[in-house]
Subunit: 216 residues, 4 copies
């Protein structure tokens, strides 16, 4: 079995099974690319002759902030993702499809990030509310797929390495995901009155992901 461990199909697994290492490799790729594509949303500013490039670069600060928040958010999701996948001894079909859904939402994040950066300064309140809503809905998608994945951990005890430890961890994670979902919903609602507050709440929820026991 040793010499098979990088090919993803040990002889003892059923024909055509996808190994956890292959799922991780593909997921790592999507996470890495999604974070890196964020930079493409920041266009080189074109100031005319004698234009003030310092000023133009400074005025891009909403793009820098959006970039940083999204990069860190995706990075934290990556940490949590590996925690979760690492619990599984083998990949079953629901895991495969839920993971694909999660990755689709992760890879989507550069778009709301770009929209947010575009309207963070120049947009009016209504436009900023729209941008914040798009970002929040995307994060709800992320949290929702994590919720479904953790619910699957509790059901799929036969696929886990160590069900006795993983199931209680899944219980805590589910509570965490439900709180995150609620926080994102509140953040969006608050945005109707004060969009900037939404953004602070988004950053706060991301911080909770970093600080919480959950991702340890």
């Amino acid at each position: 079995m040793t010499d098979d461990n990088t090919t993803g199909a040990p002889a003892t697994q059923p024909l055509g099974a996808v190994s956890t290492s292959r799922v991780e490799a593909f997921s790592d790729g999507v996470f890495a690319i999604a974070t890196t594509l964020l930079i493409l949303e920041i266009a080189v500013p074109h100031v005319g002759e004698k234009g003030d490039l310092f000023r133009a670069l400074f005025d891009l600060w909403p793009s820098y902030v959006s970039y940083a928040v999204s990069f860190v958010t995706i990075g934290l999701m990556w940490i949590n993702h590996h925690y979760l996948i690492g619990l599984f001894a083998r990949v079953d079909r629901p895991l495969l499809f839920l993971n694909l859904g999660l990755l689709a939402v992760i890879a989507f994040i550069p778009f709301p990030t770009g929209v947010l950066a575009e309207y963070l300064v120049d947009g009016d309140q209504q436009q900023l509310f729209a941008a914040a809503t798009l970002y929040g809905v995307t994060m709800i998608g992320v949290s929702g797929f994590f919720l479904l994945l953790w619910m699957h951990v509790r059901r799929a005890t036969g696929s886990l390495k160590n069900p006795a430890a993983a199931v209680p961890a899944a219980g805590r994670a589910i509570v965490f995901c439900l709180c995150a979902l609620a926080a994102y919903l509140i953040a969006i609602a608050v945005g109707a009155l004060a969009p900037v507050v939404s953004l602070v709440l988004f950053a706060a929820v991301a911080s909770l992901f970093a600080l919480g026991r959950y991702s340890r």
Copy 2:
């Protein structure tokens, strides 16, 4: 041999042989990037001052649908690709070249996806037919390369881990690929009359890939 299993050239293989793990790593990269680049086809909408950003974001729904369908389609192709590569004990030249051809078509998918998103709402019937045809032809390329790869599985019994199990599986997969090819041809033809029906058929074939015994 143990300490060679990540370098792709165990001493017992002929000099310069490409290991299956290296083919998988390169392929994983192309699949992951192709899915992630899909998001670049969705441009940040520029509404003027007081413009309705909610509306503008909502009007992008064809882009979201195209993104989701293409992401899931490429994801399913990835699952099937690993199933197929996992059958091989060593990489021969036809596998290497057919795999390269398949990856070239997979990496092409963001382009027809972008065209489809562009013309799904604003395009007239004729333009939508053209966009659907481009998408269908691309999918025919994908199915065609899978067909050739499965035909190679049947021939290259000396390169397989377990020919007794793989050859019948290849037979079933060939039938599946031929059905998919036929379905894509029909979908394109139907598009001349009702392009929207093409799109429904494309999604249906993708679902079959997900639900069928083939990708289990």
Copy 3:
């Protein structure tokens, strides 16, 4: 040593040595991304209302051809790259820096590919000559770095797995690289008279890479 083989720093290697598997992982990433970025050079055509999208998509054929040739070329380079790296038991500094140079040229390929696609049909003879020259110079860069890498194989016998087999292979590869360099120079020169002939020669050299004994 077994449990260290994926971390890139077996205890018996000097502190901070970069393993061949890490060099391959980074290189695989660059190769995979360079191939996949090629598609971004093909922009979604914007035809006006009632515009003929079939025609517009058909008129992009130079882009499709450039995409296919560059994808296959990078793919063949990838195969040759793994052949070469697989000869090494450990990574020395010249290998590290020559490899970085090679990757810089590989990652550059989407740019000349885009220029070629842009001027293949609409450009006049002089413009097509310029585009073909840029493409040829890039390929000379690729072949030149491969030449330097193979010359390093001959010198660095202490870093090789099997010097007795690798050194003669390097000799043959050096001859091959010199021929490729000469062919690219001739192709560029011919382009001054008939640019289209350059392109045919570029494709021919790529085919030699595929068919030759070298990449077997």
Copy 4:
């Protein structure tokens, strides 16, 4: 433990620990993509009918220089990154978060590279100063995160493979990082008088990374 070494969660590690190999895989992805995205900053030049494409391609030389310098810089950072990560036996939380911060700055590099290329020829002195400052500040970010990471190496002896060798190495690396930080600050300050000198200094610091004992 052997058959777990690619899944990132050996049974003897605490539940949910992230392995060094997973951190390397994710980091490799970000490094590879950041280098490859650099090429997207070079747009295909559009010369009109009878326009001089040779001239237009030649005039892009600042883009080529910026591309090469950034590619080599990121490549050297990648070498140093693996040296550092390879010292760790297990990944602790500060390493995880500092690494994420470093990657965020690395993935940012295509943006200042694009700005520099844009203003290297056409920009006036003030604009070039701004572009050089942005590039220098980004490099200060890179050096700063490397400094923090090396300071962490000295503290986190319990996470290291071989603290007796790693701690003195970290001491030397910290001195190196402080020198690089100082050099970048001086380069930025000099840029107020002569921006081109900044660029020469940036390239010089990058060369030091390559030649110094540090990255050996």
